[in-house]
Amino acid sequence: MATLTYIVLVPMTYLAVGVFAAGTLWRLAGLLRRPRLGLPLAVYPTQKPGWAYALADALLLPTVLRHNPVLWVALALFHLGLLALVLGHLELVADIPPLQAVPHAIFLGKGAVGLAMLLCLLYFFSRRLVSPTKDLSVPEDYLLLALFFLTVLFGSQMDWARNWYDYSTMSVNDYRAYLWSLVTLRPSIASVDGTGHTFMLVAHVLCADLLLMAFPFTKLMHAIFTFALNRIRRG
């Protein structure tokens, strides 16, 4: 079990970050190597500056708000939650003074962010159980939802434990010691091994690693491509 814990928390995490970074760069380089079509492909009327409207389209999803407000709320909650969790993880690695300009506890929302994201993911999943979205869905769609759900569930469980039922078997400093050891390439799992939450952590990291590795090779690349494609639409 200790070996398995080590494999997931150390080599697999390095591998995941490497695959994520190299894979994403490879995909972007592959895209940039392609010739341009060189034809106007905008939808009219166009508004200027196109890049500003494209940025707003990509970040604020106005077409979703117009055509499916419920989905827009879920997407907004999910993506903002994701941003909050990414920032939380950055703060878990080390103190980032600019992020503490407004003092707050590491991981905003006292567990509510993770809960909101899980509810959003359940909603996304339920949409894929009924036609016509069901007819459009492929196994990748369900697998990614499942991976996100499990990643957030196991991660939130550790957050909820500290915030909701005072189960502080691992403190922020313990997580930080582990993550900092990875960043400094002196990996050590001593601070997070053999505690009541080690299983949760391993499960969380395992799912997150799989997600990171899936990113460059799945539809998750929409997180980057949306800016370019919206720019084309805006002319």
Binding site: G30, L31, L32, R34, P35, R36, L37, L39, P40, L41, A42, V43, Y44, P45, T46, D57, A58, L61, T63, V64, R66, H67, N68, L71, R127, S131, P132, T133, D135, L136, S137, V138, P139, E140, D141, L143, F217, T218, K219, M221, H222, F225, T226, A228, L229, N230, I232, R233, R234
Partner: protein, 416 residues
């Protein structure tokens, strides 16, 4: 499918993989938001008519042959090899989409289903499985370009007959040469369709405006674009480009044909002339006070042709024209960007009876929109749209008149 055929088709597929195309293929999250945006889905409620579903038919082949995921884990994205069965699916997807790009307005990313389906059309051309009628019409257009000298006499004879009709109806405006041809140094080359309705009213308005124009020997419609063959599309367009360059015109005005306007505007870059639609020219005459018009009785609505409006940006001009010549104008859609496609684009109307049943079933929402406008007359500025709207009018018993915008403007011309 033989391996050599498949390899050739995959080479064709690869030739379409520009940066824009890869973005279109890689960015869809299958959220389904585009589904109700398609008139065919909105009318028929069948998932196969969802834009993302059609795109997915192409995307599955793309994944299998061009992506790491599709090669290593094909089940994950339901990647499919290119087979005869896949070609059949591609045909259904390509020729149930009119290329209106209404789905693109609703998509959070701006995925261009029309672009994606241009791959399907090209593969069908490569496999010689494209609709025969479209291929034949494209070949006829190309042959005309190659044999124009032999065909000129017949064409000019036909023009003489049309001139008599122009003089008969618009005596004051007709001028000495009602339909000029081969005018070197003309300001404008007008490219019409092969039909009196596309030439006579336009001639009346050009002459009334004192335009220095010349009628093209060629018809504007580009069947190469309908069938999705880039080489034929280019050759058909080049006939017009060469003629415009030979005459030294400043503008090429494309008649009321949405696809012709879009193709000519998109693919004529870098020429010493600019390309405009007939609607833009007519609006310019009104703005500049070059023609005088009267108000026509009755109630009118306007159907924005997708290739001219949503995909070409010509929204204000038809409204300016109608505002000048009718008292009672009613918008068909509160936001013209969301106007329903007529259901006849992408070559479907040109395929005639073969597609009539589908075109009528898939345009129920368009019929509702026409009915709910409350107008007596539905006006449009596209040949395909006109034919389709006329078919819808008959099929659904709407009891409306369907008219070309240019014809209406010619009707409204007055010498006072």
């Amino acid at each position: 499918m033989e391996a050599s055929v498949r390899d050739e088709l995959l080479r064709l597929f690869g030739s379409k993989l520009t940066r824009e195309m890869v973005l279109n293929l890689e960015t869809c999250s299958r959220c389904g938001l585009c589904t109700p945006a398609c008139h065919a889905y909105a009318s028929l409620s069948q998932p196969r008519y969802a834009p993302a579903y059609r795109a997915e038919v192409v995307r599955r082949v793309y994944k299998r042959h061009f992506t790491a995921q599709g090669r290593l884990l094909p089940a994950l994205g339901e990647a499919k090899p290119l087979t005869d069965a896949a070609l059949e699916e591609l045909r259904e997807a390509a020729y149930s989409c009119t290329g209106c790009r209404r789905c693109m307005v609703c998509c959070p990313f701006g995925v261009d289903t029309q672009q994606i389906l241009s791959i399907a059309k090209l593969l069908l051309v490569g496999a010689q499985a494209e609709p025969e009628i479209l291929a034949m019409l494209a070949d006829v257009s190309i042959a005309k370009g190659e044999n124009i000298d032999a065909l000129k006499a017949g064409f000019l004879e036909g023009v003489k007959r049309l001139e008599a009709k122009v003089v008969e109806r618009w005596r004051v405006q007709a001028g000495a040469t009602p339909i000029p041809t081969e005018v070197e140094g003309a300001d404008m080359l007008y490219v019409a369709l092969a039909g009196a309705h596309s030439i006579i009213p336009a001639a009346a308005v050009f002459n009334a405006a004192g335009e220095n124009w010349s009628l093209s020997f060629f018809e504007a419609v580009n069947f190469g674009a309908f069938v999705g063959d880039p080489a034929k599309t280019r050759r058909i367009l080049d006939r017009i480009v060469h003629e415009a360059r030979r005459l030294g015109v400043k503008e090429v005005c494309i008649c009321e044909c949405g696809t012709a306007v879009r193709v000519a505007k998109q693919l004529s870059g870098g020429q010493p002339f600019r390309v405009v639609s007939l609607t833009e020219v007519h609006a310019r005459y009104l703005r500049e006070g070059r023609i005088r018009v009267k108000k026509l009785p009755g109630s009118f609505t306007y159907h924005d042709p997708c290739q001219i409006a949503r995909n070409g940006g010509v929204y204000d001009e038809p409204r300016l024209i109608l505002g000048s010549i009718v008292e009672d104008f009613r918008e068909m859609s509160p936001d013209p960007r969301y106007n329903w496609c007529c259901g006849g684009g992408g070559g479907l109307v040109a395929m005639g009876e073969e597609t009539l049943d589908f075109r009528m079933r898939s345009s129920r929402v368009k019929a509702d929109q026409m009915r709910e406008s409350g107008a007596d007359v539905v006006v449009t500025a596209c040949e395909n749209c006109h034919t389709q709207l006329d078919n819808i009018n008959t099929h659904y018993g709407l009891g409306k008149d369907v008219k070309f915008l240019s014809s209406l403007l010619a009707e409204a011309l007055t010498d006072r």
